[in-house]
Structure formats: structure tokens, C-alpha cells
């Protein structure tokens, strides 16, 4: 039989996290610090709206772009948090999670050979989605000495005349790094100079711990060249509802809507009704969850300090990214031994790009009790490794 597969898809590596999960799920009493989703349940009033919409029989397709009421609420939300105005009729599309928005955003913008700047470590889908869209990923390796922020200089060094899109993944998964206004202003100049389009993945926008998140779209001259992606998964603990959105210039959103229309039809209707409630009445829930994450973040940073493990202070998302270089192992070796010897699963930094080498992603979407147990095990493990090294 002939080879039934596409060379492009076969050439793409599967996500590196899977392997760990498979081991963890077989191991009894293993503690996972590996998940990338909130530990909270979706707030009840939001779930209740979803249930109510089902009771009323709201079980049909919505318009391709999503319910108008939801798009209006999304525009309200971005206006009140970022001071950026979008037209709900033409500049917003509701997608199946932020991840679909990344995919169709890239597909709508890329021509074969167009280069896409992807800062790493970052979420695992930018690179494969770029390849699937016919683009060429150009990796920017973010540096610990810059607290894993993206600098104008790094863009300058990576830009060529083929560069079309810059992916801006902040607040960042896996590092927890953020870009403050001054950082964004610095890169905005280079973005304008090279006429780049920005795909700004702001899915963790609500989870920042030293002030409010600033979107690059709020900077002068940026809105018309930015596709802003956000969603409900992280802020409202709604991962399983699969709901996100993109806002941007009409001409881009129009083409994204076309792909979405043919590939997806529309985002899940129940989730859309629930999301309206989330945007209308969910601010208090978000604040409560943010406070809980912040406490855990402080707890972990303190635990690392006490163990003498180097870790820059992350101000966003729900991850810390400690450095394990002192132990003379690769991230993969460290994570594997940690799992085998102490039964704690953390994700090797390299799962998010080569520049994650020497780091570990630890998620704090877990209760303090769980984190406490995990840090006790980490302490024991680290002491053992240091004793081994001293020999």
C-alpha cells in the first residue's frame, strides 16, 4: 500500500510531555506538578448558565464568529482592561480554545516560506502550527538573565526580509515571565520598523501578580498589526469548555473566520452561553483564584530559596521555572530521576524548546498541601544529588 501520510505532519515531533504523563499515570502515589490547567472547578454560576442554556434547548450552531452577545462582552472586557476598542461585528471571532485561534491565525497570515519569530521556551503549539501553515519557524531563545522577557535586540538579530509574524507569548507558559509596558514599548519600535504582524497569545492575561497585564495592542500603532488571542480556560478555570477568541484587524479576522467556518463551523454553543456569564459576573472569581495562585507562587519561591535552588521570580501564569544546572544533568535526566526516585512529575524545560535546557516547569495549579508534599520530596532529592556531587 502507498504511504497514506503527509510528510509535513510526519516530520513534526509529538509533544514531549506525553511521555511523562504515561509514566505518572502508571505509578501509584506519584505526585504530578505537570498539568497546565487550573485546579479550581469552573465557578458554579458559570456552570449553571451552561446548564440553563441546555435546559432551554440552546443546542444549535451559533453564527460562525460566535454569539453576538458574547462578542460584545469580549469587546467590553478588552475595552475595560486594555482601553482597546474592537468592533464585535467584524473584529472578533470566538474559537475552540485559544489554541484554535493560534492555528487559524497563522494559517490566515502565512504564505509559503514566510518566517515566524517564536520566542522559546513557550507553549508547544506555535512551532508545529507554523509548519502546518507553510511558514518557517525562527526560534528566539529567551534568556534567564532577561527574566525570559523578549528584547528588541533579540528580534533585530532574528529578523530577515522574510519575517512576517512575531508570536508574543506573555504571560508565558512555561516560564511565568511577563512583559511590562516598558518592555512592550521597546519591542514595538522594532515591530514597526520591520513591519511585522504580532500574534499575541494573552491566555494568561488575568493571572499576573505585580500589576495588571498590558496588551501590546494597547500601544500606539499596534492594534492594526496585532491579533490578540485570549480565552476562558485559565482565567475562569474553563479548560474543558474549549473556548477562546481572537480580536484583530477586520481583514485578518475575516480570513480566520473562513477557515473556522470550514473546519469547525462554530465554537461549542453551551460554552458560549457560559462564557457570557463569566465575562459579566466572573471578576470576583478571577480575583479569588488569582489570590490563591499568588499565595502558592510565594510558597514555592520561598521553598526554592530555602533549598538554595536558583529561580527567577515569575510574575505571571501559574508556573515557576527553577534552574537545575547546578546538578550537572539535563532537564530530561533530572525530571526522569525525580520521577523515579521521589515520584514527583515535573516537566523538563526542554519540552518547551531547546532554551528550556537546564530548567524545570513546575505548575502551581495545585493545593498548598500538595505543593508542600512535593517540595519536601524535592528537598530530599536535591540533598541527595548534592551529596552525590560532593563525593
Amino acid at each position: 500500500m502507498r504511504n497514506p501520510l503527509s510528510d509535513t505532519i510526519v516530520s513534526i515531533k509529538p509533544s514531549g510531555i506525553r511521555k511523562f504523563f504515561d509514566i505518572v499515570s502508571e505509578m501509584k502515589d506519584a505526585i504530578s506538578l505537570g498539568v497546565g490547567e487550573p485546579d479550581f472547578d469552573t465557578p458554579w454560576h458559570i456552570r449553571d448558565e451552561g446548564i440553563y442554556s441546555l435546559e432551554k434547548g440552546k443546542t444549535f450552531y451559533t453564527s460562525n464568529s460566535g454569539l453576538m452577545e458574547l462578542r460584545k462582552e469580549i469587546c467590553n472586557y478588552i475595552d475595560r482592561t486594555q482601553g482597546v476598542k474592537y468592533d464585535p461585528a467584524n473584529e472578533v471571532i470566538v474559537t475552540v480554545g485559544g489554541s484554535e485561534a493560534i492555528d487559524i491565525g497563522l494559517r490566515a497570515m502565512l504564505n509559503p516560506g514566510d518566517e515566524v519569530l517564536i520566542p522559546q521556551p513557550s507553549y508547544v503549539s506555535y512551532e508545529p502550527c507554523t509548519v502546518l501553515a507553510g511558514g518557517k519557524p525562527v526560534i528566539i531563545n529567551l534568556k534567564a538573565e532577561n527574566d525570559f522577557r523578549l528584547t528588541a535586540r533579540e528580534i533585530e538579530e532574528a529578523v530577515t526580509e522574510k519575517t512576517k509574524v512575531l508570536i508574543l507569548p506573555f504571560p508565558n507558559n512555561p516560564t511565568g515571565a511577563i512583559m511590562e509596558k516598558k518592555d512592550l514599548e521597546e519591542i514595538a519600535e522594532v515591530i514597526l520598523k520591520h513591519d511585522l504582524i504580532v500574534l499575541s497569545d494573552e491566555i494568561y492575561a488575568e493571572l499576573t501578580y505585580n500589576g495588571k497585564h498590558v496588551s501590546i495592542a494597547s500601544l500606539p500603532g499596534m492594534q492594526e498589526r496585532t491579533v490578540l488571542i485570549n480565552g476562558f480556560s485559565k482565567a475562569y478555570a474553563m479548560t474543558g469548555w474549549r473556548l477562546g477568541y481572537a480580536c484583530g484587524p477586520e481583514e485578518i479576522i475575516k480570513q480566520m473566520t473562513k477557515i473556522h467556518q470550514f473546519a469547525i463551523m462554530c465554537a461549542p454553543t453551551t460554552a458560549q452561553y457560559a462564557a457570557i456569564e463569566a465575562l459579566k459576573n466572573g471578576d470576583g472569581d478571577v480575583a479569588e483564584m488569582r489570590e490563591a495562585y499568588n499565595q502558592r507562587r510565594r510558597f514555592l519561591m520561598n521553598a526554592f530559596r530555602e533549598m538554595g535552588i536558583e529561580c527567577f521570580e515569575p510574575y505571571g501564569a501559574f508556573y515557576v521555572f527553577p534552574c537545575i544546572k547546578e546538578f550537572g544533568m539535563t532537564s530530561d535526566e533530572f525530571a526522569t530521576r525525580f520521577l523515579e526516585e521521589e515520584k514527583v512529575a515535573a516537566v523538563p524545560g526542554t519540552a518547551f524548546g531547546d532554551s528550556g535546557e537546564g530548567y524545570l516547569r513546575i505548575s502551581y495549579a495545585y493545593s498548598i498541601e500538595r505543593l508542600k508534599e512535593a517540595m519536601e520530596r524535592l528537598k530530599r532529592f536535591v540533598e541527595k544529588l548534592r551529596a552525590e556531587q560532593a563525593k
Binding site: 510531555i17 497546565g36 508547544v124
Partner: protein, 159 residues
């Protein structure tokens, strides 16, 4: 820090000072001072334990009693409320808007003990007009704590 501190210890009264300081991102001495102030101001008025008595073999009956009373000149409901809350078996007394005046929550060892309290002590007070006693059959959730099996973590490891 005050509000965040209160929210933490409202859920976990046993948390130690060092951990509290870490979670709040402040020094331990600041936590000590703030707790002392909160206690002095009467904002923190006790440290209790949530107990699901149903899982023990100790018999306990909880009743909610709606009480209608005649308010007294110059004192309103306060004096009668005080006369009721002095009884140790009364765990809570609330002044309520609507169809009745006081909500009295009572814990007793048995139905008989509770009904004895209502008929002998409560309804015989001069200002009490009427009572309606509701016994609690099952507690699902109390003080924000859900009684029941803990949820398993079903989340998968993903990027």
C-alpha cells in the same frame, strides 16, 4: 494584607505563622502583630474546628428555630436575644428580616432534649409569641466546607 490574611485563616485556623507569612509575602512579625490587632478589635473572635459529627458515633441533633417575639420598648430585640443566647446549647442567634424575628440554632443530644428546651425554656419567655422548630436531617455543606468524599484529580499532563 488584612483581608487576604482573614480569608486564609477563615479556611485554615491551624496554619502556622511562618507559613502564613510566606503565603502573604510579609515578615512573620507583621503577621503576629496583625493577628493580635484583629483579636483585640474583636474581628477574630475565635478559632474553631469543622467537625462532621455524623461520622462519629456521638449523637447530636441540630435544630433551626424560628422565633417571633414582641420587641421591647427602648431595647428592641437585644434583651430577648441575650436571654436566649445565654443558654449554652444555643449555638447561634440571628435577628432576621421577614416573617419572623429571631433565628435560633440549637444543638442537643436528642430530639427530646431539643423539644424540651423549646417547650420549657424558649416558648415560656414573656416576649416570645411563637416558635417553629426545624430539625436538620443532613448537612451537605457548612461554613463553606462540603461534607462528602474528596474529588480526585482527573487532570492530564499537558503543555
Amino acid at each position: 494584607m488584612r483581608e487576604e490574611l482573614l480569608r486564609i485563616i477563615e479556611k485554615n485556623g491551624r496554619i502556622d505563622l511562618k507559613e502564613l507569612a510566606v503565603l502573604l509575602g510579609v515578615q512573620e512579625i507583621d503577621v503576629v502583630n496583625e493577628l493580635q490587632k484583629l483579636e483585640e478589635e474583636g474581628i477574630i473572635c475565635g478559632y474553631h474546628t469543622m467537625i462532621n459529627w455524623e461520622l462519629t458515633d456521638i449523637e447530636k441533633v441540630t435544630a433551626l428555630i424560628e422565633v417571633r417575639v414582641t420587641p421591647q420598648r427602648g431595647q428592641g430585640f437585644d434583651t430577648i436575644a441575650e436571654r436566649i443566647f445565654q443558654y449554652p446549647e444555643v449555638t447561634s442567634v440571628y435577628l432576621i428580616s421577614g416573617g419572623y424575628d429571631l433565628m435560633v440554632i440549637l444543638e442537643g443530644k436528642s430530639l427530646r432534649e431539643v423539644s424540651g428546651f423549646v417547650s420549657n425554656k424558649l416558648s415560656t419567655m414573656d416576649t416570645v409569641l411563637s416558635t417553629a422548630t426545624h430539625f436538620i436531617l443532613k448537612k451537605y455543606k457548612d461554613h463553606g466546607t462540603i461534607f462528602g468524599p474528596k474529588k480526585q484529580d482527573e487532570r492530564e499532563m499537558m503543555a
